[in-house]
Amino acid sequence: MSFRIRIPSIWRAKRFLYRLEGYRCSRCGEFHTHSRYVCRRCRSRELTLERLPTRVRLVDYTVVHQATRNNEDNLPFIVGLVETPDGVKILGQITDCEPEDLAPGMELETTFRRIGVDGDANIIVYGYKFRPEIH
């Protein structure tokens, strides 16, 4: 049995996955990673395309030591929960550092990376990751 995703699912998510662009409710401010007609919090229909800031704050993270097929090559890897200055929380892998370099509250920047390969044809999936700022 194959559990891989297909190209359309990546295509539908490309705005957010490639550019961190989502839909902000102009009435209540709720941010959505997918295109929506109605705000999930206040039911407003006024949603506008917006790009998230590239600098975020690390809230929480874990280091994954046992993973499934599509991520086995990268073990161990870090997955973090981060927060933008206006409070949007998103998940993502953290790269270019060791777990010891991280602490909750520190600033991270976004970077565009190869996330993995998908399906029998090994289609390369790209997307955002986070990394400590390089000084």
């Binding site: 030591h65 998940l91 993995g116």
Partner: protein, 396 residues
Amino acid sequence: MGTAAVVGVGHTQFGQRSDMTLAELAWHAIKEALQDAGITQRDVDYVVTSNVGGWSSEPLPAILVNEYSGLGDVGVMRVEAACASGSAAIRAAYNAVASREAEIALAVGVEKMTESPTLQAVELLGRAGNFFWEFEQFGLTFPAYYALYATAYINQYGAKEEDLAAVAVKNHFYGSLNSLAHFQKKISIEDVMSSRYIAWPLKLYDCSPITDGAAAVVIASEDMARKLTDTPVWIRGIGVASDTSNLSRRQNFLGLASTVKAADEAYRKAGIDKTEAVRRLDLAEVHDCFTIAEILAYEDLGFVGRGEGYALAREGETYKGGLIPVNLDGGLKAKGHPIGATGVSMAVEAVKQLRQQNAKARQADIKNGYALTHNVGGTGHYAYVTIYSLNRPTQS
């Protein structure tokens, strides 16, 4: 709504059960539950089967189990609420009886996880969240979801990895006294601390295992329960709640909001003041899929205040004789966690504890006649809290 009580329970050996098919495993639990209730298949009006599947190949497990068990042509359905499926089955069976649609209903939980290789089971568990945005893109596994809660908790309150380990040590201790448990070996803090990381800070011994097993309970109306037994165990309150699929939309990572909501509902229905719960309950069965989950449960269920749960584990206050005994059957950690069977297994344990049918070393002192089960699906995606009692509910 009428009242309903558990009048029969059955439970198979948990572990790697390559000796039986899914239907055979379920039947062993059903047979024991029917015998315990003193009834036969013909007396059962309605059946609810809890099975998550995926790792086993049966897409219609409820039908398969009914036919194999000779339950005839009665109404049946399969329910899914991830790791809380068993409690969802009990709630559906309870509702059938309490609404007087059925006199006797059967809730069965069965899971055969070892039909698939371990990594495939791990993958299927990891998909139990927001598949695309967590598992596929970021590689978060099921232990990793709870690891995010563990790191947040440790950072906020200063708990240590050793405090999480204390939960595993306790549950393995009680697993060693439970002949139906998957793991019946005691472990030490050092064993936990030296086990390899799965998703930091959670190590192998912080995680519940991949297990096969089945459990069943017979639920009867008040009139029927009085005819069948002189020790009915009344279902006094069931609370149910849910939470966001994507963890990034959670308010915080220091507790499970769904557990809090479900517990509040269950306590209210049972007439228990949450601040008094720890004195009213003789024992609790909580959802320790990972050690951190048991600590969060102490706080979400109101046994202690926020940030105090890890001290309860550290000081051994959830052993028999402590503030409140928790998971005297070994919990998911040592008894095993056959996903669809777990919630029903908790109910079986609660009933046997209230009837004082366990070996003395792991039998709680029954003073008030109340037990609580807490069953979580996913990472707080589903939550069920159920209160069982020897005391009949007062008429409302």
